[in-house]
Symmetry: C2
Subunit: 372 residues, 2 copies
Amino acid sequence: MPLDHDAIENLTTPALLLDDAKLTRNIERLAARVRALNVSLRPHMKSAKSIDVALRVTGGTPGPITVSTLAEAERFHAAGYTDIMYAVGIAPQKLARVKALRERGCNLTVILDTLDQARAVAGVPALIEIDSDGHRGGLAPDDPVLVDIGRILHANGALRGVMTHAGESYTVSGVEAHREFAERERAASVAAAELLRAAGLPCPVVSLGSTPTAHAAQDLTGVTELRAGVYMFFDLVMAGIGVCSTDDIALSVLTTVIGHQPSKGWILVDAGWMALSGDRGTADQAVDQGYGLVCDAEGRVIPNLIVTGANQEHGIISLRPGAHGAMPDLPVGTQLRILPNHACATAAQHSQYSVIPADGGPLLGWPRFGGW
Amino acid sequence: MPLDHDAIENLTTPALLLDDAKLTRNIERLAARVRALNVSLRPHMKSAKSIDVALRVTGGTPGPITVSTLAEAERFHAAGYTDIMYAVGIAPQKLARVKALRERGCNLTVILDTLDQARAVAGVPALIEIDSDGHRGGLAPDDPVLVDIGRILHANGALRGVMTHAGESYTVSGVEAHREFAERERAASVAAAELLRAAGLPCPVVSLGSTPTAHAAQDLTGVTELRAGVYMFFDLVMAGIGVCSTDDIALSVLTTVIGHQPSKGWILVDAGWMALSGDRGTADQAVDQGYGLVCDAEGRVIPNLIVTGANQEHGIISLRPGAHGAMPDLPVGTQLRILPNHACATAAQHSQYSVIPADGGPLLGWPRFGGW
């Protein structure tokens, strides 16, 4: 739908901007990789949480997706998506909602890594989570419990396969390092699948992925599908580990200058952590981007200017520590764009994308949702 | 309104819990101080963003409040609040919305600290922001621009007074340290008011406050009103600087155990940064609480158990670094409560409070809002 205020200069700030041309370029970039790797894609919608973005990603009609909450599953199913993986370990208390969705025609699968969960899900299709890099949950690919879980699931006709996510790939930089994590994901999930098959159990799905490994993998033999989410938007964390450039980042927060402290070299803006999120994901990277990298209203990076402090509704912009040079002249009322550290976290602070169309037409408003 | 699921064990997790008995106790504690200090109270609603909480704070009927966004001003005005300070430096682009609210009968005041803003607001009542501690915005109390701004505002009948906020008081611990910041707030705002008055300008309002200074101030001579916000909920940051105890914290996030990594001493729960926020406000305090302090489902602190890691929908709970002892046995499906580092940031991740009534009756659902 067109926005009430159809030009950037008329938006109420802070506002979440989405550059449709960059979104499209990012989507096409991963789509080309998936074709080359000969796997299917199950994009993760936890970053987008938007039907409009999802349709852009899945080519105009619903396709397989991944979600991080049952609220997402319910929203996407209501919009026509029927093939959904809920990729957070299932809590038994949530099975009633899962079953209700399945009864409404949603082919919703869950994930798990314990015997108790396997017993609880009964006939609900499930994937067994494999730990490929020590990041979070999942069983080691050679854990004998894997087969025990597989047998319980299979007895109920619920064993769909295995899945893993190399979340630790975010902590290393460069395509060579990401390629190693991609191979760890592949090796762990394929080994787990082989262990199940050797026990006479079916394992039709071998699912893996993260944005860094998706863009680095050279060979996915034995893998059936790839998952990734932030690749559609990208962010400073991804740029910091070499997966994209800052020019690829499709999301930004539009903000307005509301004051100055010239003696400190501070520009105050109306985007604090409420609009940017408190994410400091670049703090441990080679280049710390503070709470975000500052661009002019057209999206051109202003060299060395970052958000160095964030209160609830105030951002403090200053030169990067150690940087030399004069502060640009940005009077009260000037609009700026802030590139986010972590697109998922920043987008989550907003209820709408203000979309800049590729054709230069009026802005569009794409709603996004939250909750559980 | 009563919730669909009227008992904690039936709530969908993660969920934001509000303990009404603690809320009431916290409200009464500050109310007693305000009476003793002989000032009026203008509570800040940026933490609560809830009509139900606001009515609790203002004694059942609307009273003077502070807000951090025009969306808050509009929502509270629609609920009957007519005396509102918008305590973020005004951007000229926002004056149309300010004027529209004023035309609907809302006595909305803005704040500013530049000549350009003073010229832009024209007849909109404004307070001049004073910098009492180098925290963020505002003029030094002896800055000659203060009188220039005062004259411009007064020529339009718009000079309401001065205001300050000692945000740096959050960085020091103990009542003595907070008392120093309280006196800095008082001295700076009263000096600024005297400067205006010496120039023949009116300064009816002298407004100041923060939760730490509000609870420490001994004398507010010359001050007319006090502002504070997080005092109604409290949080681990406030406990860490000695303003409250962990038992005073009225907000928590209810979560469910969804897995374990026993070899690492990890318990995985379904509250990640989406439910807790990414705020790490205790990171620089004497006791780092990670992403939150873990309690059992009844709200009793489990010694040394904190959220040491947070992904989007996963929290990793483990023993505090350096702590000894066995992990408690918390099977998949167990409910826990997480006390937040920063109540404003955690509450902002939720659209509703699940309120535990003081009388032990069924839970209530109090909606909260966001946006700008």
